[in-house]
Each structure stands twice: as structure tokens, then as C-alpha cells.
């Protein structure tokens, strides 16, 4: 590591690694050139606030690791996917072929992941998703090059189904946007809920005003409402739900009230329920350090997007350390990532056969902290060491 402590030498080796690669012996190159990470996050358009959480979580991980993983210097290339699939493909191909990134990390939305999965895995690059966890890649489409540090979407929705079931709610009203993730949410919820769905309502993704749906909820008087309304949709719904005086009907949600939307929802969301793999108040040293330093550096409360990215940084650090900084043996590297030998901010964490996490899932509730900020806090553990329902369809090759 002495070389890297001398900035002049490090710079020269860096140049050798990029410009005149042919002159440097490959072995030397592999050990001294920085590890390049392509961090895919949406930073423009509707999902930008989620992408910002995701990026900042990774950046805090880098800060804690002194910008090194497994002892090797890291260069992070931030890629804004703009929530446009064809743009994402072009930029990710550029990262792989021009910048020669060693890992692709991040991705907020499933449709972007669906667009970039082939170019990344076809090139033999590992892709660590830190948010999107679609069923297609958990089941038949599973790939040895694909890991996720977040969850399979169905798991999170099924937590709320279980919560509704355990709370003896018999009549539940379901409200989601009319797109694939919305329909998946309903399926996930139903998988663990045996009561009656009094009505399922699908709204367009551009919905502004929920008064029609709120009137319908009031007229049906369900025991609880289950909803999945990400981003601005959730902000609109929560504000209007509270104003319509419906807050006495339990509000069960996924990705609707979290730290990315709470600054705008504020008091309107107090007491509303959510489901997740992680919450800022989780009581373990790794998490306390993460939340404290995240707020110190970025001055806002992190959401799960940030936590999962932070975990990905620690995961890669452990894996690269295990293989001694040598990334060329893909099988060894894959085994090292799969070992998941790091301290997750969630506590227990391991990978299943499909390289999706096997983990506990929690019911959360929105609370106000003593300092006046809002965050989600754990209510109870609903599922323990849960394996997603698609894992059994995955035929994962043993060797790459």
C-alpha cells in the first residue's frame, strides 16, 4: 500500500493503468489501478429523491471505508439513468466498455434494471442492486452475476398482508398505481392475507387528486387500507387522507411513508404503517454509526435506499478483501460476495440460492423524534429469515 500513499507515484500508476495500459504488466495493473464502480442512480425526474438517497448511502460507505474496498482504492462513477431505459443502456455500456468498471452498483427502479441487466451480466461484470429486486430476476431469470442487497418486492408487500391478517382485519381496501409494480404489490399483499378485499382501485401514475378514491374508501368503511404509492404520489395521498378525516382507518403501506417522503408529509403521516427490511432506529452499532454519520454529512434522515447502498459498500469491501484484491477469478469473487461476511445495518443478513437476501422483515410506524424530524420506527418483526417466493424457481449455475 506504500505506493498509494505517495500521491505522485499513485498518479503515475493510474495513468499507466488507463492511458498506456499496454506498457504496464497486467498483474501489476490489476493490483494498483483503482477499482472502478459504476453507481447507477436516478438523479433527474420524478424518482430523483430516491436516487439521491441511494447515492449518498454509497458515498457514506466510501467515506467510512476511506475510499478503499478490500484495501484497494475506489473510483466511483455516478451514472444518472434519468429514468429512461434506453439512456441507461447507453450510459451503462459506456461505463463497462470505455471506463472498464469492475462492478455496477445501485439502480432504483425495476424497469431500469430490466434494461441494463443483459449488457452488464453478458460482459461478465457483477451487478449489485441496492434497491430494485424484481421477481423475474429472483426466479427463472436469476443470474450468477446478479446480487441484490435490498429485497424481492413481493416480500415487502407480503409483510403488510401478514400484518393485516394478524390484526384480524377482515375487510381491506387496496389502492395502488396502475403499473406493474402496483399490480405486484397487490399480489404480494394477497399472498398472506385471507380476508376480503372490499375493492381494488388502480390510479394513473400521474394522479394528483385522490378525492374520488377517498370518498370511495369512506363509503365502504373498510377495517384497513393497504396502499403502495411511491414518491410524490404518496405525498399527495397521505396529505389528502389525513385531511379527509380518514386517519382513524389504519393506513398500511409499502414505500409510501419513508424518509424520502416524510419531510414533505410531516405530521400528516404520523402513526401510519409501513413495511421494510430496515429502519433508522434499529439498535445495533453498525446502524447507529451509519445513521449518525449520514445525518452529520448530508443533513437529512436516511431511507432504506441509503441503507441498502451503504450495505453494498461494506459487502464489496468484505468480498474484495477475501479474494486479496484479485478480481480476475470470477468464481472466487462470486463466492466471496455470496458469503456476505460483513456487518449489515439490519443485523442478520445472508444470501439465498438466487443471491437475494434471506432476512427479517419488519412492520414500521411513522414517529416524530425528539429533534422534531420524522422517521419510521420498528413496531415488530413480522417475518424471520424470510426467503422470497421465487427462489425455488431459480436454477443457479454452480460455476460461472
Amino acid at each position: 500500500m506504500a505506493i498509494q500513499d505517495n500521491p505522485d507515484l499513485a498518479r503515475r500508476t493510474f495513468l499507466a493503468g488507463t492511458g498506456a495500459a499496454a506498457l504496464a504488466a497486467p498483474a501489476v495493473h490489476a493490483q494498483t489501478a483503482p477499482i472502478k464502480i459504476g453507481l447507477v442512480a436516478v438523479l433527474t425526474g420524478a424518482g430523483a429523491s430516491l436516487g439521491t438517497h441511494l447515492r449518498d448511502g454509497w458515498m457514506l460507505g466510501m467515506r467510512h471505508l476511506d475510499t478503499k474496498i478490500g484495501g484497494r482504492r475506489v473510483e466511483t462513477i455516478v451514472i444518472d439513468d434519468e429514468l429512461r431505459p434506453d439512456v441507461a443502456v447507453t450510459k451503462v455500456r459506456a461505463a463497462i466498455e470505455r471506463d472498464k468498471v469492475d462492478f455496477v452498483v445501485g439502480v432504483v427502479f425495476s424497469n431500469i434494471l430490466g434494461a441494463i441487466i443483459r449488457p452488464v451480466t453478458d460482459s461478465g461484470t457483477f451487478l449489485i442492486s441496492t434497491n430494485a429486486g424484481p421477481s423475474t430476476l429472483a426466479g427463472r431469470g436469476c443470474s450468477p452475476y446478479f446480487f441484490t442487497t435490498s429485497y424481492n418486492n413481493d416480500q415487502v408487500h407480503s409483510v403488510m398482508g401478514k400484518v393485516a391478517q394478524d390484526s384480524n382485519y377482515r375487510r381491506v381496501f387496496v389502492l395502488t398505481p396502475n403499473y406493474q409494480a402496483g399490480r405486484d404489490a397487490v399480489a404480494g399483499f394477497k399472498s398472506k392475507f385471507q380476508g376480503t378485499i372490499v375493492d381494488e382501485v388502480y390510479v394513473p401514475l400521474t394522479q394528483l387528486d385522490f378525492s374520488a378514491e377517498l370518498a370511495r374508501i369512506a363509503s365502504l368503511r373498510p377495517d384497513a387500507v393497504f396502499t403502495f404509492m411511491p414518491g410524490g404520489l404518496g405525498v399527495n395521498l397521505v396529505k389528502q387522507y389525513r385531511q379527509a378525516g380518514l386517519a382513524n382507518i389504519p393506513f398500511l403501506s409499502t414505500f409510501t411513508v419513508d424518509e424520502s417522503t416524510l419531510p414533505a408529509q410531516g405530521e400528516a403521516a404520523l402513526g401510519f404503517y409501513s413495511a421494510a427490511t430496515w429502519a433508522p432506529n434499529m439498535d445495533n452499532p453498525a446502524n447507529q454509526a451509519f445513521v449518525r454519520d449520514f445525518e452529520g454529512v448530508f443533513n437529512y434522515v436516511p431511507a432504506s435506499y441509503a441503507a441498502h447502498s451503504y450495505d453494498a459498500a461494506r459487502l464489496l469491501d468484505s468480498a474484495v478483501r477475501k479474494v486479496g484484491g484479485n478480481l480476475s477469478d470470477k468464481n472466487a469473487l462470486r463466492a466471496a460476495i455470496a458469503a456476505a461476511d460483513f456487518q449489515s445495518v439490519r443485523g442478520a443478513f445472508r444470501f439465498g440460492i438466487n443471491q437475494y437476501p434471506v432476512q427479517d422483515l419488519w412492520q414500521l410506524q411513522v414517529a416524530r423524534r425528539p429533534d422534531g424530524r420524522f422517521q419510521t420506527e420498528t413496531v415488530r418483526k413480522v417475518l424471520t429469515a424470510d426467503i422470497d417466493p421465487w427462489a425455488r424457481e431459480c436454477r443457479m449455475p454452480v460455476r460461472i
Binding site: 429514468l83 429512461r84 434506453d86 447507453t90 455500456r93 459506456a94 424497469n111 430490466g114 423475474t136 409494480a181
Partner: protein, 307 residues
């Protein structure tokens, strides 16, 4: 004048043809160039109706999207032969254009802009609700379209030249159309509708044919876009994408397809370059757009002609 109009595109085609051999041969550069050429085809098709017929459409992304979804629908049915996929997708986009155009062309000016936007939005919502094809999440194509049963289009270099070939064909087609009697009627009706009617032409039919043709060509671009990205999503049909296409045409100049060609290439390359500079590249892109519109009344083609 006509000769100079052709000189620029010919130079561009020549450059694109040798690009892979003068330092743009990596897979990534080829992907970028293919994307630029695909949007070139789309912009050329749009220029037929914007420049030729004076119909400003803010729904042209729907044509691309329908072409791309044509590939998806056939792929789902395990039909991947280019000689079936391309005509079918083009026919679908052309038919959509013909049906919506039949209504839209009855209006003019701002109303036309808005009604095409409305049809574009309808197509957008329709594709979003196709859960068989992944709905909003989109559809990953595991194989590109086949050519005579071969996987030739999988090769980046082959795909590059396929796009280039189709780009040249599209340009030549639109150029020829506009220079023909058909094109002269279109332009005459655009400049003075009353006079065109007085000499016995019914502009409606000419416009409708132009609109349907532009739709079919847009569908072709959609087929290529789907193959280039190996992925199709409703985002291809968003109205912002229609705005981008319109801007490409204006940036290059509405005088003919060569303007649209230049505009599309410049747009994609500028976007790529700016995005590399800073995260807030749109802070530069927005004003740049305004300045372009302000200073280049006739687009890039106009600037070239001035000297």
C-alpha cells in the same frame, strides 16, 4: 442549392461509414452512434410532416413506441425474422398514424399539436397497461431480431451498418418524396391552403398519406431502437420524448430531411457530452436550447447555407 443540401448528408454518411475504423470501433461508441442514427431516422420521418406538410406533431414518440412494441409482441409469439418483424411493425405504426391522423388532420396549428399529444398519451397509457409485456417495467428482449434466421444483427458492427443503411434509405425516400409532385402539393398547401384548393388539390388526403408514411418510418426507428437497447418500455412513448424529437428537427432546420439528420446527431452527441460534464447539465442544456431557437432561425442547415 439542392446540391449543397445533399453534400452535407453525404459527408455525414461517409463519416458514419468510416467511424468504426477511425477510433469509434468500441462497442460503446457504436452503441452511441447507433442511437444517434436511430433518432436520425425518427427525426427524418418527423421532418416529412413538420417541414413538408407544416404539421407540428407532439406525439411522434408514439410511432417509435408502437414500432418497438411490434418487436415485443412478435418476440412474445416467437416470431423474430426481420422480414416479418420490420414490415409488421411499420404497418402497425403506419396504421395507428392513419387512424389518429384522420381525426387530427381535421384540425390545424395549436390544435393539431395538442390532439397529437393526446393520441400520444393514449398510446402511452395503453402500453403501460399491457401486463403481458411487463407493463410499466418493460420487456427485455433476450434475442435481437434475426435476419434470414441468422443472428447477424447481434454483431455491433453489422448493426451499425444496418442502421446506417436504413438511415440512408429513409433520407433518400423522404428527400425524393418532397421533391416529387406529392411533396410540392404538400408544401404548397402548407404555404397557402386556399390557393392549393383553388387549383384543385384536396390537401387533406395528401397530408394524411404523409402522416401515415411518417408514422411507418417512425415505426422502423422503433424496431431499431428496441434492438439497439434490447429492451422496450412505455417510457419510449413519453411526451417529453416527442418534444426531444421535435427539437432535433428544429435544431437541424425544417427545410428538409438533411436538417433533421444533422439535428438528431447533434442532439444525441451534445446530450452525451454535457451529461459527462456535470450532474446539473440541464442547467446548461435548457438555455442552450433557447439560444439555438433564437439565433438559428433556419436551424443548422440554415447556418451552413448562409456562408
Amino acid at each position: 442549392m439542392r446540391w449543397r443540401d445533399a453534400a452535407v448528408p453525404l459527408a455525414i454518411f461517409a463519416l458514419l461509414a468510416i467511424a468504426p475504423f477511425i477510433g469509434f470501433g468500441q462497442g460503446y461508441s457504436l452503441t452511441l452512434l447507433a442511437r444517434a442514427m436511430i433518432f436520425g431516422i425518427a427525426a427524418i420521418s418527423l421532418s416529412l410532416i413538420v417541414g413538408g406538410a407544416g404539421l407540428v406533431s407532439l406525439g411522434h414518440a408514439a410511432m417509435l413506441g408502437i414500432g418497438a412494441y411490434g418487436v415485443v409482441v412478435l418476440d412474445h409469439a416467437r416470431i423474430t425474422e426481420a422480414w416479418i418483424v420490420i414490415p409488421a411493425a411499420m404497418a402497425a405504426a403506419g396504421a395507428f398514424a392513419a387512424v389518429t391522423g384522420a381525426v387530427a388532420i381535421r384540425t390545424s396549428g395549436v390544435h393539431f399539436i395538442m390532439i397529437t399529444l393526446a393520441f400520444g398519451q393514449m398510446a402511452f397509457f395503453a402500453t403501460s397497461s399491457l401486463s403481458v409485456y411487463g407493463g410499466d417495467d418493460g420487456y427485455t428482449l433476450y434475442n435481437r431480431t434475426e435476419l434470414f434466421g441468422t443472428r447477424a444483427l447481434e454483431g455491433r458492427l453489422f448493426f451499425h451498418f444496418a442502421c446506417l443503411g436504413l438511415l440512408i434509405l429513409s433520407w433518400a425516400l423522404v428527400e425524393t418524396l418532397l421533391a416529387s409532385r406529392f411533396g410540392r402539393v404538400l408544401r404548397a398547401a402548407h404555404q397557402n391552403e386556399t390557393r392549393a384548393r383553388a387549383v384543385g388539390f384536396e390537401p387533406y388526403r395528401y397530408r394524411l398519406v404523409a402522416y401515415a408514411l411518417a408514422g411507418a418510418l417512425g415505426g422502423l426507428a422503433g424496431v431499431l431502437l428496441a434492438n439497439g437497447a434490447e429492451f422496450v418500455a412505455p417510457a419510449y412513448l413519453s411526451w417529453q420524448r416527442s418534444g426531444d424529437l421535435l427539437f432535433m428537427v428544429i435544431l437541424g432546420g425544417v427545410a428538409g430531411p438533411h436538417g433533421a439528420l444533422m439535428g438528431a446527431l447533434a442532439f444525441i452527441l451534445i446530450e452525451e457530452w454535457l451529461a459527462h460534464l456535470t450532474e446539473h447539465w440541464r442547467l446548461i442544456f435548457g438555455p442552450l436550447l433557447i439560444l439555438c431557437v433564437y439565433f438559428m432561425r433556419d436551424g443548422m442547415a440554415g447556418v451552413l447555407r448562409r456562408d
